[in-house]
């Protein structure tokens, strides 16, 4: 690669020009009837052999040996293209390591594409890992503002919705207690309440998280249902085929980072189930 300097050679992600500009915006463009999400020729490339060069000594050794260690390319996603229209609910299925979660992370702006493009029109709510960025030493109240601003909510919006967030999370009594004294369920409830307080244009869901007890799960489902009714676009990654059938009208089947099938949920899921039945688990995952 022409642009790779010393650090570039150490990189395990082959870097292509123009990729490093990741912009992210939460402004909504509801008026537009163009697809909420457009993905064209998206590929992610990693260079595996240079994986863990995190000290200069290791790096020097690799440079010396480099004639032997040539780049071993690995494509977590390869030439993925699809569009999602406003209000549509798309399922993403496939065996472990197929690239499902990577795809969500690219859409969320966490991983920049190596090749291809992703256009998102509107605000994303990435429910990929709830409460990423919670600080255990801060109180629940302080964390609402920290996590909220991490998700891009303006301060005023958070202040306005603060009571609603706390009520929804059922944490009125504990909101001024440091988060390290919360149970796992309490943190997750708070994370869910913050992340979903403003209705997004595009909701990214990785698996169906089981948040809290049965009562709270019911509330989560209701909130999801209200999003569905209001026409929020949803991308759902799951291994639960029943859930996919219930939720999604259209489904993508990924394998080895490529789209195997995309189309009406019933057909794609049926195809995936035949595929799963025919190949034993050991052969499904990559080395």
């Amino acid at each position: 690669m022409s642009r790779s300097g010393k650090l570039g050679q150490a990189s395990r992600l082959l870097h292509l020009p123009g990729v490093d500009q990741v912009t992210h915006d939460h402004a909504s463009t509801r008026s537009s009837d163009r697809p909420v999400l457009e993905i064209r020729d998206l590929s992610i490339r990693l260079l595996l052999h240079r994986e863990r060069t995190t000290s200069i000594r290791e790096y020097a050794i690799r440079v010396l040996k480099r004639r032997r260690v040539e780049r071993d390319q690995f494509w977590p996603l390869r030439e993925v293209s699809f569009e999602v229209n406003r209000g549509e609910r798309l399922g993403i299925i496939g065996p472990n390591g197929a690239g499902k979660s990577t795809l969500l992370k690219v859409i969320a702006g966490i991983i920049p594409p190596s090749v291809g493009r992703v256009v998102v029109r509107g605000r994303i709510a990435p429910l990929i890992e709830l409460g990423a960025g919670f600080d255990p030493y801060l109180t629940g109240r302080e964390n609402v503002f920290l996590y909220g601003s991490l998700l891009g909510f303006p301060q005023k919006e958070l202040e306005r919705r603060f009571d609603r967030i706390v009520t929804f999370a059922e944490l009125e009594e504990f909101i001024d207690v440091p988060l390290m004294n919360y149970s796992v369920g309490m943190s997750a409830r708070l994370g869910f309440a913050i992340a979903t307080t403003v209705e997004p244009d595009l909701l990214l869901l990785d698996e169906l998280f089981s948040v809290g007890d049965a009562g709270f799960q019911k509330k989560c489902e209701q909130r999801m249902e209200s999003f569905k009714v209001k026409g929020v676009t949803i991308l759902l990654v799951s291994h639960d085929m029943n859930l996919i059938r219930q939720t999604c009208s259209r489904t993508v089947f990924l394998q080895h980072g490529r789209i195997v099938a995309i189309g009406p949920t019933d057909e794609v899921v049926a195809g995936y189930e035949r595929f799963s039945a025919s190949s034993p688990p050991g052969q499904r995952t990559r080395p």
């Binding site: 490093d20 500009q21 920049p112 090749v115 991490l150």
Partner: protein
């Protein structure tokens, strides 16, 4: 895959050839600086967190921000007052530069590590990564401003007044912050790929401390090494910061502008390098 996708990101999704890059709503696709600005609320939260949490569970709490340099000042005075005692108000001479040095050394050493430390966040949420070094340096600026209050009390107590020369203070302070941020961005970028950088820097910053006239006057440096003062930006920066406080006069303009120039250059360089490599951070943190 050697074909270079050389053209930069376009904001028009209709263009015929697909270009690499990630695009959000086309009309608000923004540059990294603007993205950083949009996340100013997060910056505020991060600074609050850093200032708040630093002394959590300590009895004296925030007072440590002030006590720390006071203790250092006391030690330097005890050790060196014999040698440099002829200087009037030697303790004030030390602490005025020491506060600036602390801003720099804490801001850079935390800033350069901040991307790695916040790796768990970077892996899970989109966030402009430069926000972490910026927050580290900004929190040190906040600490500096807070410690000015007891410094002024100290100045009154020892009978040194302060006057209009204080109006100069924002310029060296801003320069110092820019310089610290530039170094933090630059070294922070390398630190993501080679964690050794942090340890090298920790050793280097100690040498740098002794090479800079902080507790000793610049005059004691032998003529053969005087040139060191002018290759060391911290000399110009700390002298410009110290003069309005310690001498109550305007800083030397040559040093003031030298410091400002070097700081802005370092900041631009740091920003450019950081921005060039930040797309790859996700695979290393």
């Amino acid at each position: 895959m050697t074909k270079a996708f050389s053209s930069g990101p376009s904001v028009r999704p209709e263009s015929v050839t697909p270009e690499p890059g990630i695009y959000f709503a086309e009309h608000c696709s923004s540059g990294p600086l603007l993205t950083l600005f949009r996340y100013r609320e997060l910056l505020r939260q991060l600074v609050i967190r850093e200032v708040k949490l630093r002394y959590k569970r300590s009895v004296l709490g925030f007072a440590w921000t002030v006590l720390n340099p006071l203790f250092a000042m006391a030690i330097f005075t005890m050790v060196f007052s014999r040698i440099f005692g002829d200087r009037p108000n030697y303790p004030l001479y030390v602490i005025t530069a020491l506060l600036g040095w602390n801003l720099f050394s804490l801001g850079t050493s935390r800033g350069l590590d901040s991307v790695v430390i916040n790796g768990p966040i970077i892996r899970k949420v989109f966030v402009p990564k430069a926000i972490f070094p910026v927050a580290s340096v900004a929190s040190q600026v906040v600490n500096f401003v807070f410690s000015l209050v007891p410094l002024f009390l100290f100045m009154v107590a020892i009978g040194v007044g302060f006057g209009r020369s204080l109006l100069w203070l924002p310029i060296p302070l801003l320069s110092l912050a820019c310089f610290a941020l530039g170094i933090a961005l630059l070294l922070g970028t390398f630190n993501v790929f080679f964690r050794d950088v942090k340890y090298f820097y920790e050793a280097g910053v100690l040498a740098w401390f002794y090479a800079t006239p902080i507790f000793y006057p610049p005059e004691i440096i032998p003529d053969t090494f005087k040139f060191l003062l002018y290759v060391n930006p911290m000399y110009a920066l700390l002298e410009s910061l110290r003069t309005p406080l310690y001498q109550g006069t305007a800083p030397r303009l040559d040093l003031l502008f030298l410091g400002l120039g070097i700081s802005l250059f370092t900041l631009l360089l740091g920003w450019a390098v950081f921005h060039r490599f930040e797309g790859r951070f996700i695979h290393y943190v």
